[in-house]
């Protein structure tokens, strides 16, 4: 696998599976994709009828998603260029396996503090 493809793959997996701190009114550890889902939902509500809070939440979720996304892109690029070719793949695989377990602390949910990636995406 080329380093470009390895970098892209690792970046996507980091976005989907790596828990990052989530700040705001409620806090937790979530993958960037959850921030994108929440930000997308609040953006949709804001588009239906803007108000201070939906705009604030949209900014909060998407702002954090952008920050972590950029950081992860840089990490993926660094790892893909410096590590042997199998390492990014191994790391991505490990992350994806870990993501199947409830390793995320997911605020704003109904009844669960810890979720797996499948529960986040269901």
């Amino acid at each position: 696998m080329s380093s470009v493809r390895a970098r892209r793959l690792l970046w996507v997996v980091l976005m989907v599976a790596l828990p990052v701190p989530m700040l705001g009114l409620e806090t937790g550890w979530v993958p960037v994709i959850r921030l994108l889902l929440l930000g997308g939902a609040t953006a949709g509500i804001a588009l239906q009828g803007p108000d201070d809070l939906s705009l604030l939440f949209t900014g909060m979720f998407l702002g954090q998603a952008a920050l972590w996304g950029l950081l992860q892109w840089w990490v993926a690029r660094s790892l893909a260029s410096r590590l042997p070719s199998f390492a990014p793949l191994a790391l991505a695989g490990t992350l994806l396996v870990a993501a199947l377990f409830p390793i995320y602390q997911t605020p704003y949910s109904a009844d669960r503090a810890a979720s797996s990636i499948l529960q986040i995406l269901e």
């Binding site: 409620e26 609040t42 509500i45 239906q48 009828g49 201070d52 809070l53 704003y108 009844d111």
Partner: protein, 634 residues
């Protein structure tokens, strides 16, 4: 001619028969078997949330109004969390049924919740409803945020029509639940009231919340909510035109609560344009809001040490912040000021009375729980499960403190009424013959008059003498009769009788709180008039066993020797129990928390080691005041 006279007579007779029924809000029901002309103490809860409230539903409260009334009548009730089979993992039950209750769900989002929870209703599939179902806590912030600005979500349609229509269904179900719970038999075991909460906010989140309690089954076709208009004066005027003055038999009282979290905005002394209240405005306010909830789950609103008082009993169940937002956001916390508290505003009322001849703040006292679990009257310190007021959902059974440590189990509303019917209890609300307790079913009487004999307590006829010789709590002292120098106040209290498996706590003392005007400014004086703080009673904090003796009852006739007949004044009684363990101490003891070993204390029990939270409390009851106004010269 004779026939015409007969017809006219028949019509007149019909009118005469109907008018009292229309005007007095009387409802068809059997007479009570146990009517007491000297009135008896009845205990209830006038602040109860169920799953029809957004903040309750988003923390997974599933109990409905009918469930709450069943609980109030003594049945066991399941509460969250729920297992995978939707079975409640906790069950609670009162040790004694309540006498009355009102479910007061937040009216602002009845329609929105109904649409989001009912497949097939227009708007159900809207993104905002999907957020409600998938991320309820996010929906809590977003929907509450809009409602607190008087806005409806887009899925409500043009002018909010869809949500208004859906509100009608919820409102009817609430009325039906109250109707089904009301005991119309001659046993008069339980009285329910139709009610709701007007959930207003000012500024960022200055609490302006008020409960609206209707006298009977005749109510407006829709609740008047904060979304209709953000000004409480709109609420009062709408309730006047659509209820009290509608000629339908409808009557209503509005009961503000949590002035402690209002950032001093609950009791505005002037209009938005800076002009002072007029007599007409003051009268409208006083007629709409005869009562105030002085104590509940989120703290006490009577008074606070350092905000115009040095009364040491004003340190009871205080929250160290003064807005709702500060509950969850520590960055927004600032200390409360004087006008967060009812005692201060009672004094302002005296000044307003002197200025414009009307007291807008002649407030009677109650307390309640503000439960968000649908569990009215669940005030037991020993078995506190939290009330979940706008909190996050539980993730499994609580492993430590079941609630924010600064909160408490809440209190009870109490009335002196002839019988347990809507008519009798509501009449007590209107004449303010009410008192609040911090939980225990203490009985507290207060009468004011000019010639009570000194030995009235020994006579054993306190109530008869009290009514015959003066006015009860909530009343207005008559002008002093010729030769009278000072009023006498007859205060009597009985300790909570307890339940078969738990004795009530002894009383320690009765206090009188006197407020009066001097040079136009409110002054206060707090005196122990029966019992003593030095009775040596305390509580073993390790076992929570009370130590030392107190009183099963207290009674005294106290004369105000510093009475100034030219000064407006008011007097209310406060009775204190001997010290007992606070709810948090019970929980912390059960978990054997050792605060000297910080590393051993889990996050869920960290509140046990919060030095600002007392380990013991003195439960109490507050009477409504008795007012005195100097005779006018004109």
């Amino acid at each position: 001619m004779t026939a015409r006279i007969r017809l006219t007579s028949a019509v007149l007779a019909l009118i005469v028969a109907l008018v009292p029924a229309i005007g007095s809000a009387a409802e068809p029901r059997e007479s009570c078997a146990n009517r007491d002309p000297l009135r008896r103490a009845l205990y209830g809860d006038l602040h109860v949330h169920t799953t029809y409230s957004l903040d309750a539903s988003t923390q997974d409260t599933r109990n409905k109004p009918a469930d709450a009334y069943r609980f109030a009548r003594g049945e066991a009730l399941g509460i969250q969390p729920y297992d995978d089979d939707d079975r409640a993992m906790r069950s609670v039950q009162l040790d004694r049924p309540l006498d009355f209750a009102a479910v007061t769900d937040h009216a602002e989002l009845f329609g929105e919740l109904s649409i989001c929870r009912t497949p097939g209703l227009p708007g159900h599939d809207n993104l905002a409803c999907q957020v409600y179902r998938r991320w309820p806590r996010l929906a809590f912030y977003l929907m509450n945020g809009r409602a607190s600005r008087g806005l409806r979500p887009a899925f409500c349609g043009e002018n909010g029509a869809r949500c208004v229509e859906a509100t009608r269904g919820i409102w009817q179900r609430m009325q039906q639940a109250a109707e089904e719970a009301y005991d119309r038999s001659d046993q008069c075991a339980f009285t329910s009231f139709v009610g709701y909460e007007w959930t207003g906010s000012g500024g960022l989140s200055n609490n302006l919340h008020r409960n609206v309690i209707f006298a009977n089954a005749t109510v407006p076709d829709l609740p008047i909510s904060f979304v209709d208009d953000t000004d409480p004066r709109f609420l009062w005027s709408e309730l006047e035109s659509r209820c009290r003055k509608a000629g339908t038999g409808c009557d209503v009282v509005v009961i503000p609560h949590n002035s402690n979290l209002s950032a001093e905005t609950m009791w505005l002394e002037e209009n938005p344009d800076g002009s002072p209240l007029t007599a007409e405005q003051a009268r409208a306010r006083a007629e709409a809001e005869p009562l105030v909830e002085v104590f509940q789950h989120k703290g006490e609103s009577e008074c606070r040490v350092g905000t115009g008082t040095t009364d040491e009993q004003c340190n009871f169940e205080q929250l160290p912040y003064d807005t709702m937002a500060a509950v969850s956001n520590t960055a927004l916390r600032s200390p409360p000021g004087p006008n967060n508290f009812v005692r201060s505003i009672l004094g302002v009322g005296l000044a307003e009375q002197a200025r414009i001849g009307v007291n807008p703040y002649a407030l009677g006292i109650i307390a309640s729980t503000d439960t968000h679990l649908g569990t009215p009257g669940y005030v037991d310190e020993r078995r506190h499960v939290g009330h979940g007021g706008a909190g996050p959902p539980l993730r499994g059974l609580p492993r430590g403190l079941p609630d924010a440590v600064e909160f408490n189990p809440g209190g009870l509303a109490a009335v002196w009424a002839e019988e347990n019917t809507r008519e009798s209890v509501f009449a007590a609300f209107r004449r303010k013959e009410t008192f609040g307790t911090s939980g225990p079913r203490i009985q507290l009487r207060l009468f004011g008059g000019w010639d009570y004999p000194a030995n009235v307590c020994a006579s054993g006829e306190v109530a008869a003498a009290g009514y015959a010789g003066g006015v009860p709590m909530g009343g207005q002292l008559a002008a002093p009769p010729s030769g009278a120098v000072s009023p006498t106040f007859l205060a009597a209290a009985l300790k909570d009788a307890g339940s078969p498996d738990r004795a009530g706590t002894d009383l320690q003392r009765i206090q009188i709180v006197k407020l009066w005007l001097e040079d136009g400014e409110p002054r206060e004086r707090v005196l122990d008039i029966a019992g003593t703080p030095d009775n040596g009673a305390d509580v073993d904090l390790a076992s929570c066993e009370p130590r030392g003796a107190g009183h099963a009852s207290l009674c005294t006739a106290w004369t105000d020797d510093s009475f100034d007949p030219a000064a407006p004044a008011l007097y209310y009684a406060r009775v204190l129990e001997n010290p007992t363990c606070r709810w948090s101490t019970w929980v912390c003891n059960e978990h054997a928390v050792d605060c000297s070993d910080e590393g051993s204390v889990s996050e869920e029990l960290a509140g046990c080691c919060d030095a600002s939270i007392p380990k013991s409390i003195q439960e109490r009851a507050w009477s409504s005041p008795i007012w005195y106004s100097p005779p006018t010269t004109d």
